[in-house]
Symmetry: C2
Subunit: 456 residues, 2 copies
């Protein structure tokens, strides 16, 4: 049997593969919102049944949060673990979607056919590209290309609280020779990309409390401290005029990009103007002495992801609120220590509090940046396989996102990870109208078949 037979099978089975993906997309598995817990569970059940349908011994494993789906299939050659996540982001603001986020459909667009819906690109569509490649291989060969462990998480979009304890408790179940992770994208929406470095992520939620109840600003305004005033004053100091983050010791462990990596990046000829222009921006907003590519791949960030306080409905209310709060996250690089930064950030906020205002903090995830093992032979094998599928040389790139599981696989299981994925810059993941190109889905399945053929 040749690789071509598997690729032909993939092509012929595409309509059925899309039907399966649509069924998974219809389950609103929003992990961060407790109201959707039963739906997250249902998505796990769907995946267990799908794996079992292709002969994989699969089970749903409970955690203190949402379940893990784990499946095993024997085979010759190396043992790989495939990781994807079946949970999705919340969908608000819902009024900006042009269709129900959980009633997915294929739409014609000026840039081609897309699958529209929450989770299409992040990460159900990507997860299914690997499953469909395995299904086609199994159909053609009567067996899988190698020994495979399937490992699907349901908490990736809510900080993966159960992941690390689960890995530590189930090392034997999960240890393989290499992890394959499909949760990233193409470089500039055109070239296959193999990730060489990932940013870490630290989440912090701050709540400031001033008066013990909401007050009337006519009666108390002027004399009573307003916690929104304090919160804006502190967070307004998070960056200096040059975009540098002001938390003490924040830049400890931030390396300069190595000259050979810098040379590779320069060869990519990143289109910063196009990247920003896609979202109606023109000016890179980070540290003003850095390039846009450094800002998103190799420099740390601080972002206020949410802020709320006082009256935010229609009209006006002259309230002087008791509380105000914000969600702040930091993307980390190099050897920045998430726990040290958490401590320094909290101390920095606390030191700026005026009399009568108290702060409470809660943490949401803390994962260091990751560096991939690019000298592992699978990296070069995958690079060649991807070039053959996409007709353009695959690039070794950085990634501004945070995929903590890759770091955990290394630190807990001693397992290297190969991160590839088929997302495009305009997929609008985490935003309204998320989509996944039909082309990404189809070529993604074919890419996995080629990678499995190359590394087995």
């Amino acid at each position: 049997m040749t690789l071509d037979a598997t690729l032909s099978r993939i092509d012929a089975d595409l309509p059925a593969a899309l039907d399966r993906l649509m069924a998974l997309l219809r389950i609103p598995s929003i992990s961060t919102d407790p109201a959707f817990a039963a739906d997250v569970d249902r998505a796990a059940d769907w995946l267990v049944a799908d794996l079992q349908g292709m002969g994989v011994a699969a089970e749903k494993h409970p955690t203190p949060g949402h379940p893990m789906v784990v499946g095993h299939v024997e085979g010759d050659g190396p043992h790989v673990l495939f990781y994807g996540h079946y949970d999705v982001q919340p969908v608000d603001p819902l009024d900006l979607w042009h269709r129900d986020p959980f009633d997915p459909a294929i739409e014609e667009t000026p840039r081609g056919r897309v699958i529209r819906g929450r989770g299409t690109a992040d990460d159900k569509g990507q997860l299914m590209t690997f499953l469909e490649a395995c299904r086609a291989w199994q159909a053609v060969h009567g067996q899988m290309p190698c020994r495979i462990t399937f490992f699907f998480e349901g908490e990736e979009e809510s900080g993966s609280p159960s992941l690390l304890p689960y890995l530590e408790a189930h090392k034997d179940r999960l240890k393989a020779d290499l992890a394959l992770i499909c949760d990233t994208g193409l470089f500039e929406s055109r070239a296959p990309a193999i990730i060489t470095q990932l940013r870490g992520l630290l989440g912090e939620e701050i709540t400031l409390t001033g008066p013990d109840k909401d007050l009337h600003s006519g009666m108390y305004g002027g004399a009573a401290i307003n916690p929104i005033r304090v919160l804006t004053r502190i967070l307004g100091n998070l960056h200096d005029d040059q975009g540098r983050i002001q938390v003490p010791q924040f830049y400890d462990g931030v390396p300069e990009v190595a000259p050979e990596i810098r040379a590779q990046w320069e060869a990519l000829k990143f289109d910063a103007a196009g990247f920003l222009g896609d979202v109606d921006l023109s000016h890179p907003a980070g540290e003003q002495d850095r390039s846009a590519l450094e800002m998103i791949w190799s420099r740390p960030t601080a972002e206020i992801n949410g802020i709320v306080g006082g009256y935010t409905g229609d009209g006006f209310k002259t309230v002087l609120p008791s509380r105000a709060s914000a969600k702040v996250s930091f993307r980390l690089v190099g050897t920045q220590d998430p726990l040290a930064i958490r401590e320094n950030f909290r101390a920095w906020v606390t030191a700026q509090l005026p009399e009568d205002v108290t702060a409470t903090f809660s943490g949401h995830g803390a994962s260091p940046a990751g560096q991939m093992a690019t000298d592992h032979p699978a990296f070069e094998q995958a690079r060649r396989a991807l070039g053959a599928e996409w007709g353009v040389e695959a690039a070794f790139t950085g990634c501004g996102g945070s995929i903590p599981v890759a770091g955990y696989f290394k630190s807990v299981l001693g397992m290297d990870s190969l991160l590839v994925g088929w997302g495009k810059d305009d997929d609008q993941i985490h935003s309204p109208n998320e989509k996944y190109d039909l082309d990404s889905f189809h070529k993604g399945i074919r890419s996995w078949a080629r990678i499995l053929d190359a590394i087995r």
Copy 2:
């Protein structure tokens, strides 16, 4: 017939008066939220019927917003206009109420019996004290104490957009010798207070837009400008370290308190520590070279009444939002010009915008501060009448709130206003668990009977 007969009638009729108030309180007349428009209208109908029931020729008059209720009754002596408002504030955060805000009840508390519910103190309970005084007078005397125009507004809590045009269009209908306004409180919850000066109010809503859609902070974080970062930076500059407001020319027209007024205020021996301690604060937060009483009566303020942007639900979402917005209000004193301050504020915000961020503004009300005609004979008559009811000398005081109607009565109708009211500092108006002391309601009705007797 003597005043005593009217006071006795008021005492005897208190249970029925409470029943009437409860019926009005049950109507959720939240004027700022369009979802409650029919309820606001229903509250107007209730008042029309109640006035008609005591022989007043009353009607509901439409406006582009919520209706005005106007009633007239003939009588001897001076012609007074009584003003109150029948709309109420929103009730959020609803989870902090210990009962349904629109299912009012009398509760026993350590400080005495209170009427609990939205609008009890602001302003339905206060409005009804005047109506009940008139009802008792009518029952005892067979006629009203003087010629009275009743004028009730349904948009006071939403910036009174229809008030000024309505006054200008209906001068003949509304002109009287003196306006009586019941929307203020006792001094330190114990002494009757006659207001000598009111702060003005300017409301502004700002929305900043950066990228044209919400973005993933992993993909764009660092390179794309975050409008929350810009909003906090700008609003964090609204006050300097000493609590002074930084908008250019903001203090133009802010007078120093005249020595004789300052002497009166000092004689009141305002308990700043108790005032702040009631809401768990200890430190006056305004301009650091001013007393707490100046901060709330004679100094202007800038408050952020609401702020929102990004993800504010449970859990965490690493979104980089497209938009962030805030509601900011200014309390004004002396001859500060609201329209000039609006213009200066907008220019000040705009000048601080970085590349790629745009601001849109919308205004919510703009009323100057007011100075009352304390040499009008009714002021001294009312002061004596109130002293007799409360057993403690009435005070001439400032008021930190904004009751724009008093300024409009003067500028449009040439009519002076006497502002008295029975609210207490712990009434929690505009906040969860709003209440009105049963004592305020009862003595308030009696106070109006005494004032009407004194000024007729």
